[in-house]
Symmetry: C2
Subunit: 509 residues, 2 copies
């Protein structure tokens, strides 16, 4: 039998082999398939998966531009399949997977710093095709470099329609008679649900990985939410064996994409049937079966998870204090000694719910407050629409004011020497950050304060002073200063200063 | 010798007698003078004071519409002076002195609730006459019903000029060479100061009490700051004996005005030469010599005073958290079990300093946040002016946007049944207050949240729902509702709801 497989791959790209195999019984469970990949610098074992129509697939992300040999084995095959392929160096826009860098920040595998400016569209891949395309179109504007979304469909206020696909073979409970008043009565154990949790629906996952790949090509990290509580179908209350089958299937399908992150749950603490032991068990599956150790975290509603758990790579926090949220970023850094992403700090919008109706200005302010404390924040948009398509859950067209300002913030972050910022004590009324690497580089943010000028004493060394209007997205280099300086400011909210040592050649000008 | 004195007085008004007396030696210290006033319902002893030009004065505020007899004694007089006068009931606009009412609120002596909406003009009575008149003109607009101000002049950024009068005989240090850069080098122990702390300057106090009386006539409480740290003259570092002489002089002159409150200090914790024992000593002087037990508190910079101290009638708090301030009001209520006034929560303005450059919108938001938590806040305005006259310190014309909205807030507060509001737990995203007296009366504030509607279940009883735009100062009665209601809102910041049981006759309409 002739087996086709790619003879080449790109470093940090996806190499994939498709194999015809046995289909008697339940091919999703009866015939495990796996690959072993070996090059000069690494050997990795990856699990494959059944993709329907008699096809088994094994995926692999090579980390080195080397020649790899591989062997695929599994009872689905008549015989193991071996071969080799050549990996070429990553192309320009491919910086590899994102990793934690230092204690509090992120960088791509090639060393380029990664400053997360993420958004949330919980079930955008489960919407009609045209809505998904609108979402991609908005994402192509480069506002965000991370997006959080779920594998399972969402049952919640403003989310009553069935998804375009379900993850399992079977039929969902009826939505007849469901209204905004009574939807909370539709529970995961609804007797109308009939699912075979041993048989996945490949179409559901094929579309999702298609979208993950498109995100990857746009340089956007896919922060995949594995479980969540907004459920009328029972996916939040499966058995431990069903959970494990599901998690290993996710890993087999998605882990090879370098932009994948794993979020064990959204609002883990309101999944009624899962305990901390369950979450630790689920997390350990990722530690065991994800050969790439993709970034891992878990998102809270009321109670923080213990982010010191060794498997957690970074904090993924929903703010607990309605009034003070991003302002706590540096406290969380100290408490958890990990990168802090405040992935939910209320969304820009006008929903009745308090988590979804702040202004664009307030959301951008919270991002900047997180930034100057050495952390990161997350975006969401929740403007009520006549057609029911709301960015935060469905994607679609955006209606807000914050996204452009967040892209602007990212452009400022990219100027940081080294990797990342840390909060520093300056005056009591400066929200001041310095480069984490100790460079003479400072970002000051005034937020709601509106000074008409500020005075500093720079000492004997020269500094460039740049005034940033974080809302109007303007920067204005005032010049190079030494000693005592009085910096004019417009007496407006949302102003910042970037203060840094000039390059030697700048000073000569 | 014929002695003239008023034959009548108004309840809670000021009765005053002027007596010629001895002037040899130091009449400020050598000849104490005092009065004893007796009616059917009270007997009070009050100290008098030397007012210059050979005149001694004794003042008294009668609390009852009764006939009073009095005797004035003192070594300054050849013989005691006795007599009687008749007190008539308080006139319409005279509600008596403000007292603590219940645990957390205030009311006038006649029972009318008093909802403080105060401002700060630290040294307005020490400015040129025309500025004082401008201040009074602004105050006549009814924005505020309390004003904080100092007896001693202020030395601080934007406050370098000498006052129009000093409180003591003597001469101040020179201001030559003083700039914004070096003013902190001008200390209280400046050797250029030459004061006789045993000889007051009556003109200084005469003007102040003239202004106190004008405030009283406008229904504005005078929250008098006894000591403060912004000093190049030495008034913050006098001896204990000098402090006592000063405090007793203040009481003798001012205490009879029913609108007087005593604030021991502004930012007590940064007066370098005074300890907690000093503050307790000073407070005890007020407890001993103020026969009317005027309201007493003390204002902090960084460290809260222990507001549980028995002499403290209410908390006078400067916020310690830049990001969360009014939002802590209910916590302070629990901690101190006294009325909470957040007298400094950053001022509306554009100063370089973070305490003086928030927007009018943010200041008004903080007032409302304090309100729905059962407390009160304080106003200040700090817009830089070419002529150097800034409301927060000098008074003069106002330039801000908040004052009108605070007058509007006061008009809402006056509708509260009983006396005052308390925070209640409702939905997590409602800042909800109810009438302290248990009436079915609710004030909900959405602050930065911008719901486009909210849903409530009122149960079987009818409620009037009123939508309040706290910034645009509009109220819109939506109607009377029962059961589940969906309340339309404009998706804007700073909205509130007033929800209350209709009067029986309303329901019949």
């Amino acid at each position: 039998m002739q087996i086709n497989y790619p003879a080449t791959a790109e470093q940090w790209g996806v190499w994939e082999i498709s194999l015809k195999g046995r289909t008697e019984g339940n091919p999703f469970t009866d015939y495990p398939v796996a690959g072993v990949f070996t090059s000069k610098n690494e050997t990795k074992r990856t699990e494959g998966f059944y993709d329907g129509n008699g096809i088994y697939k094994v995926r692999f992300m090579p980390s080195f531009a080397e020649t790899y040999t591989f062997t695929i084995t599994g009872d689905c095959l008549e015989a193991p399949v071996s071969g080799s392929f050549t990996v070429e160096p990553a192309k320009d826009e491919n910086h590899g997977p994102v990793r934690v860098c230092g204690d509090y920040h992120f960088a791509y595998a090639d060393g380029k710093p990664y400053y997360p400016v993420g958004t949330t569209c919980y079930v955008w891949t489960l919407q009609p095709e045209d809505v998904q395309e609108e979402t991609l179109h908005e994402l192509s504007n480069g506002y965000f470099n991370k997006i959080r979304f779920c594998v399972f469909p969402k049952h919640y206020d403003f989310n009553f329609k069935d998804p375009i696909t379900f993850p399992y073979e079977g039929t969902p409970c009826s939505t007849e008679g469901m209204t905004r008043d009574n939807f909370m009565g539709f529970k995961p154990d609804n007797p109308g649900n009939h699912w075979d949790f041993t048989r996945f629906n490949p179409v559901h996952f094929q579309n999702m990985e298609h979208r993950i790949r498109q995100l990857m090509d746009m340089g956007i990290e896919a922060d995949i939410i594995v479980f969540h509580p907004y459920d009328r179908w029972g996916f939040s209350e499966m058995s431990a064996a069903d959970d494990e089958r599901y998690v290993r299937y996710l890993i087999a399908r998605f882990a090879a994409y370098r932009n994948v992150w794993w979020s064990m749950a959204n609002e883990y603490d309101i999944l009624k049937k899962k305990t901390i032991a369950d979450w630790e068990r689920i997390a350990s599956l990722f530690c065991t079966y994800d050969p790439y150790c993709r970034l891992r975290s878990i998102h809270n509603c009321l109670a923080f998870y213990d982010y010191t758990a060794p498997w957690i790579t970074h904090c993924c926090i929903q703010r607990q204090d309605v009034y003070k949220c991003a302002e706590l970023t540096d406290e969380y850094r100290v408490r958890y000694h990990k990168p802090v992403i405040l992935d939910e700090i209320a969304y820009e919008g006008d929903l009745p719910h308090g988590w979804g109706n702040i202004s664009g200005k307030e959301l951008v302010r919270r991002f900047w407050e997180a930034t100057v404390r050495g952390g990161y924040a997350g975006h969401g948009e929740t403007y009520l629409q006549d057609d029911g398509v709301i960015w935060w859950s469905h994607g679609g067209p955006m209606h807000g004011e914050s996204q452009e300002r967040l892209r602007f913030l990212h452009s400022i972050l990219e100027k940081t020497p080294g990797v990342g910022l840390k909060h520093i004590a300056m005056n009591w009324d400066d929200d001041a950050a310095a480069a984490e690497n100790g460079a003479f580089y400072y970002l000051l943010y005034f937020g709601l304060n509106r000074p008409s000028f500020r005075e500093y004493d720079f000492g004997e060394e020269p500094y460039v002073v740049e005034v940033i209007d974080t809302w109007e997205m303007t920067t204005n280099v005032l010049g190079i200063f030494r000693g005592k300086v009085k910096i004019p400011l417009p007496g407006k909210e949302y102003m910042a200063l970037r203060i840094y040592r000039p390059e030697p050649e700048c000073e000569k000008n």
